[in-house]
């Protein structure tokens, strides 16, 4: 296949040698490399170090994004440890928290996705949700709203759905997937399985 001038320019810019190499592309490449030097060594050393504050911020963001399960958060925060002292105070606190919880539950359900990304293997995305069937239906509806026909299934206690996403994946479909922490499949083959908490 013959290459035109633009192709040769592009290939030379990318550092790939081709017949009839573009001198312009090569010269531009050399200049751009010279003008994009590395970070100064002191700044590079600073960001290359292990930074506990940065890591903590990252983990907090991962929790907010629903990447880490509620069970994991509870364990990480140590709140599963029984507290035997100050029982009365704890009871009062529990009652207060219960009251607050009742008040905010509706809002929470309305705003925060109730599912958690559990992982993915062999192209199957696994989510965890209190009501897998409800989430499955919601996902199917939202995908349909974005123009994608998804098929739900329930077999061997597994609740899931699959769909062939037209490529490239449209921004509105991408938004639906990202809202539910579902990775966008590069080949367009979407398979999601949803488990209730504690069910493998």
């Amino acid at each position: 296949m013959s290459m035109d001038e633009l192709d040769r320019w592009f290939e030379a810019l990318a550092g790939r040698g081709v017949a009839g190499d573009s001198e312009e592309g090569r010269a531009l490449r050399a200049q751009i490399r010279a003008h994009t030097p590395d970070l100064p060594p002191d700044l590079l050393a600073a960001v290359a170090q292990v930074d506990p504050a940065r890591e903590a911020q990252l983990i907090a963001r991962a929790r907010t994004a629903g990447l880490l399960s509620a069970e994991h958060m509870r364990l990480a925060q140590g709140t599963d440890t029984p507290r035997r002292s100050n029982f009365a105070r704890a009871s009062l606190m529990a009652a207060t928290l219960a009251g607050i919880a009742i008040g905010v539950t509706t809002l929470w359900h309305a705003r925060v996705p109730t599912e958690t990304f559990r992982g993915a293997a062999n192209g199957i995305v696994e989510l965890e949700a209190r009501d897998p069937r409800a989430l499955k239906l919601r996902l199917i509806q939202e995908l349909q709203g974005a123009g994608v026909s998804a098929t739900g299934y329930e077999r061997l206690d597994r609740v899931g759905l699959d769909a062939d996403l037209p490529l490239p994946v449209a921004p509105n479909v991408r938004r639906v997937l990202e809202q539910h922490h579902i990775p966008v499949p590069s080949d367009g083959a979407l398979v999601v399985e949803i488990h209730a908490p504690g069910v493998e």
Binding site: L6, W9, F10, L13, A14, G15, R16, E23, E24, A27, L28, R29, Q31, I32, R33, A34, H35, T36, P37, D38, L39, P40, L43, L44, V47, A48, V50, D51, R54, E55, Q57, L58, I59, R61, A62, A65, L67, L68, S69, E71, H72, L75, A76, F117, R118, G119, A120, A121, G123, I124, V125, E126, P168, P171, H181, I182, P183, V184, P185, S186
Partner: protein
Amino acid sequence: MDRDAFIRACREGGTAIERALRELDRSFFAKLYQIGVQTLHDADAARDLVQDTFIKVWQRCATFRGDSELLPWIKAILRHGAIERLRRRNTEVPLEDDQGLTSEAALRIVNLSLEGNDTPEQAAQQRERAQAFHRGWAQFQKDDPLHASVMTWIVEDGLSNDDIAQLLERSPGATREFISQCRKRVRRYLAEWYALAWNSSETR
């Protein structure tokens, strides 16, 4: 972090993801941060971009192909995020360049790197060309960070037409048009450098 550990963590989920997130930060933060700073010209925005990228990496981990390398895949996610940010914001005029250096300081570094065994006259010509390039390129980065960044990534990692199409979410034809635009624009911004370094008939 190696790709096998990454794939294992992706399969296991939960606590394995937290461990792996820390590992990702330790392994790749510096490299990705550098790309973020070079692209966004803002240290805080670059830090935010890298962390956002790590989150997306886990949200999309099922799409990672085990036979490819991890860092290029993560860099593609980061660059996609950078493009989204560039598209969202109107270009701001940076007072300092991507390394936190003033324009004059960065140019001094380029000039120093050009000093060799040339005659004084040749060295002066080289410096003049370098200064012309620096002025034009800095203006291009400021006015049109998307095209300038994609050109930088083509140079750094040898992105192919398909890589760019995926990054920009464009068809191959539209990507070719984008590349053509890169060339047109860089020629306009670097007109002074072209005039010094090239006979105009060679570059058209």
